[in-house]
């Protein structure tokens, strides 16, 4: 009996061992079946120039009121038979002495209720009748409405903050009698959307939703909607809206897509998904939505782009294959490519796996990628930003793109010195975006500004002379982010011989401590631009920064034309560094190699390159030129000085000579600067130890070297 049991166990073990490491199954798909059709597709609508709009009117017709901040008449943008038109209201949304229009709402019968304020932010309310008559509506001065909206039945509701208990209240506003009636306490909900008889009260962070029934006059519960809101809306940062359709259902739009919920129903279904279209854009946030008479959805973003989502019965809605993409972090540049690819290949389902989401660490993210590869679930494409590309290359985990060049070859206008930077031996990845370094200083100082060290020395001198003022020191979170950014700026000298240099590390740490202690460091997401702003505003005398978007670059070139300051591309000493961004590599263990190559081709296509993302500039020089010389690049930038004053300036597109200079620099850039996240973390931890005073610069350098050496030895 014992022998039989032992034999059974051994046999089982042998069978399972033999099963390990077996060959992958080939997925065979039945291509002969008829492909299913019919889904929502995206279309852009051109409403002409939009100045400042509020929410869509609660009417059957698509109507968008444009406040036209200023003394010009208020306009209404409409969709008539699917075509955009604009009508003049015949009056503007300001009152005497209160010439700054704020909010407005349009009633079903054409009345426009609005709020306006003066330079002391005292608020007044008015109404423009459909016939064009404008009059002030006297409402209690202690009630300041944060938002208001007309219901389909013509009644006006608003939310105002009660100063006494810091809670928001829902009011019924009677514009005829100039009376307000408090209906209920909305607590933290400061936004309202009216659908039929129900008022949906939400807060900007997306944490909760309350519902008020105007028929019964009470708050009501909708558990399904509440659960959905909690699980799906948190983190949308106010980029969501609730509106009605002609079918009596409630629609919710957010970055994740458009959802439909029938009142009293037990589910919230997704009608339009957000991943593969512009709804999911991180740059262009969804603001408001509405439905048109034909059942299509009309959405406006915070950059006033208007899009329509309509049902196309001929559009393919069945996926015949999957493309798995792995990225360490969320990336708008990648998502732009995903959207462009999804449009070209609607039959391919694109799955984007983000490694470091939900507060996962780099270590966890990389381990999960390793586990996926080991379990035959390897991604097809990897966005390599932050990963150790050399290590992946050495192990043969990335396909040599030279061997399949015909499948992804981009146009001739793509700058190959940048996009195909990884040329040693095999071509393992292609950069779809890039950033550059730049520097700026006064005309007399510019000759001395050849490196980061020079910038710090100039700053030291200016501090001693009292020529620059001091701001507040960065808090810990901003300091950590700032350190991680400045490591990129100094990577060249830290790793000058290919490996880390202890003396260079110690010197770098000491310089950062000087800048930090004297509050010369700036915080903020767009460091290069903020560095330039700080210098232009007189808060610093020199800057070395990294520039990753067109807008950031134009902030640098502004200084030359509009001040005594001058700028130059590069970090100095003849170095032509660039930072490859959105590095795409094909995983050798992935199933869909051809599809992955097609994705790279899409990412490098002109259409995709034209998208304006903050992570990196286009690698296509023709597209880059168009973007940098586009009039839409004009925008105002502001910087709050340490003395409380505000410095503002307006950037403008490049002149031909400036563009040629920049393109020339980019085409001759020959030094890629890349650091993987683990290396950056090791250096950043040591830097923080020095900046917080726990260690000297030498001790911190010793700590960093110890970690880097261990990493190298492995």
């Amino acid at each position: 009996m014992t022998k039989k049991i032992l034999a059974a166990v051994l046999a089982l073990t042998a069978v399972m061992t033999a099963g390990c490491g077996g060959s992958k199954d080939n997925k065979e798909k039945d291509m002969s079946a008829e492909v299913s059709k019919g889904r929502y597709v995206e279309d852009k609508l051109d409403f002409g120039e939009i100045d400042s709009v509020t929410e869509f009117a609660n009417t059957a017709e698509v109507q968008l009121v444009d406040l036209y901040r200023g003394t010009e008449n208020t306009k209404i943008h409409k969709l008539k038979d699917g075509e955009p038109t604009t009508e003049d209201m015949g009056a503007n949304c300001i009152l005497e002495g209160f010439d700054m229009p704020q909010e407005c709402t349009l009633s079903p019968n054409g009345d426009l209720f609005f709020s306006c304020c003066n330079d002391r932010f005292d608020v007044r309310y008015g109404i423009i009748r459909a016939k064009g008559e404008k009059k002030q509506v006297e409402l209690p001065e202690d009630i300041m409405f944060t938002s208001f909206e007309y219901a389909p039945d013509g009644r006006l509701y608003g939310i105002a903050l009660n100063d006494e208990d810091s809670s928001f209240y829902l009011y019924l506003i009677d514009t005829e009698r100039s009376e307000v009636t408090a209906l209920c306490d909305t607590e933290y909900c400061s936004t309202l959307d009216i659908v039929g008889d129900r008022i949906y009260l939400t807060d900007p962070s997306g944490d909760g939703i309350k519902i008020y029934d105007t028929v019964s006059g009470k708050q009501v519960e909708d558990e399904t909607l509440a659960d959905f809101w909690k699980s799906s809306m948190a983190g949308n940062d106010g980029c969501c809206d609730i509106f009605g359709g002609g079918d009596g259902a409630v629609y919710i739009v957010s970055r994740n897509g458009i959802y439909r919920h029938v009142v009293g129903g037990s589910m919230v279904e997704q009608v339009v998904e957000g991943l593969t279209n512009s709804l999911g854009s991180a740059n262009n946030h969804t603001m408001y939505g509405t439905t048109d008479t034909d059942g299509s959805f009309v959405i406006i973003t915070d950059e006033f782009e208007v899009r329509r989502y309509y049902f196309d019965p001929e559009a393919v809605n069945e996926f015949t294959s999957d493309l798995d993409i792995y990225t360490l972090r969320e990336s708008e540049a990648l998502m732009q490519a995903v959207r462009a690819f999804a449009k070209l290949h609607p039959e391919v389902r694109v799955n984007v796996r983000v490694g470091m989401q939900d507060n996962r660490t780099y270590d966890d993210a990389v381990k999960s990628l390793t586990t996926d590869i080991l379990s035959d679930n390897a991604p097809d494409l990897i966005m390599l930003d932050g990963l150790d590309i050399q290590s992946l290359e050495d192990k043969g985990m990335l396909t040599d793109l030279n061997s399949i060049r015909d499948k992804w070859e981009p146009s001739d206008s793509v700058m190959k010195n940048i996009s195909e930077w990884d040329k040693e031996d095999a071509l393992s990845c292609v950069a779809a975006r890039f950033g550059i370094f730049g520097r700026g200083a006064g005309k007399e100082d510019m000759e001395r500004l050849g490196s980061y060290i020079d910038m710090v020395k100039l700053t030291e001198e200016a501090l001693e002379k009292g020529e620059i003022s001091h701001a507040e020191k960065l808090d810990e979170e901003n300091l950590e982010n700032r350190i991680r950014y400045s490591i990129t700026l100094n990577a060249g000298r830290i790793f000058s011989g290919g490996t880390a240099d202890k003396a260079a590390l110690a010197e770098y740490f000491a310089e950062e401590k000087l800048l930090f202690d004297n509050a010369v460091m700036v915080g903020g997401k767009d460091y290069g631009m903020w560095e330039t702003c700080s210098m232009a505003a007189g808060e610093s005398c020199a800057m070395e920064g990294a520039f990753f978007s067109a807008q950031e670059l134009l902030s640098l070139t502004w200084v030359d034309n509009n001040s005594d300051l001058v700028y130059a591309f590069g970090s100095g000493e003849g170095k032509a560094e660039f930072v490859p961004v959105c590095d795409l590599g094909i995983c050798a263990a992935g199933d869909e190699q051809d599809m992955a190559a097609e994705f790279i081709k899409t990412a490098l296509s002109k259409d995709c390159q034209k998208a304006n993302v903050n992570e990196g500039m286009s690698v296509d020089k023709e597209v880059l030129g168009e973007v940098l010389q586009n009039d839409s690049m004009c925008s105002s930038l502001g910087f709050a000085r340490s003395d409380g004053s505000f410095f503002a300036y307006t950037i403008s597109p490049l002149e031909d000579s400036e563009l040629n200079e920049f393109i020339d620099f980019a085409e001759n850039a020959d030094t890629p600067v890349l650091i993987d996240d683990m290396t950056r973390d090791i250096i950043a931890e040591a830097a923080m130890a020095h900046l917080t005073g726990d260690k000297s610069a030498d001790e911190a350098a010793e700590q960093a070297m110890s970690g880097l050496e261990l990493k190298m030895k492995e």
Binding site: M16, I373, A689, K695, K711, K713, E714
Partner: protein, 272 residues
Amino acid sequence: MSFLLPSLLGTGIFSVLPFADSLRRSFFRTVSGDFCGTENYRAVFSNEAFLLAVKNTALFTAVFLPVLITLSFLTAYFISGLKFMRVIRSVLLFPLAVPTAALVLVWKLLFQPAGMVNGVLTVCGADTVSFLDSGAAFGVLVGSYIWKNLGYTVLLWLTGISGISSSLSEAAKVDGAGRLQIMRHIILPNLKPTMYTITVISFLNSFKVFREAYLVAGAYPHRSIYLMQHLFNNWFSNFELDKMSAATVAVFGVILAAVSLLQRAWDKEARA
């Protein structure tokens, strides 16, 4: 034998099978799957990081084991005659119940540059010590692990001590033996089976000290506390599975040899 089947199956599936796979992988390259003979083993044994990790782990075991065994025995011996043993047993098990993450937080409070220990040192006029980023990290690691495992080990000793017939000690006292003589000639010889168990368990536990070091100092800590598990953790992240498998087999061989030697020595003693 049939009652062992469930455990045997579990061990077979979750321990033997993965080890067999590691053994197989140690002779193949990870990505290409090509057979490479002993190349992985050669790469491992010539890898500086591996040699450092082995040295640190061996040093940790060589320091931790004798100190833990000695300290726990002495503690058990001296408290074995006390009252309220039930309460004492519960208190002894408390360190084991403390979650590692909580323990690490306490470490940081005590030992970071601006921590409480350095605060005391500063008040006393001494220089501060970088406990977690210098050679002192090794001492902190050993001390912390001894603190965590002391209670459990004392309990094992107490169990052994309580199994010794009191008539032996009493007879020795009648013959004029002192406390030390009783400990040396009666208690210790009768505790050899317990010592063997404690030694094997503590030896195996010494390889599990990674969690604390990783939570405090990350994937690349100070050199003095860079242990084998750090290396395995990083190799897994970097997809160096071939080297990891070869190192695993090598470590298994060392542990198996050590436990076998111990078993042989014990068997010799038992026969004698």
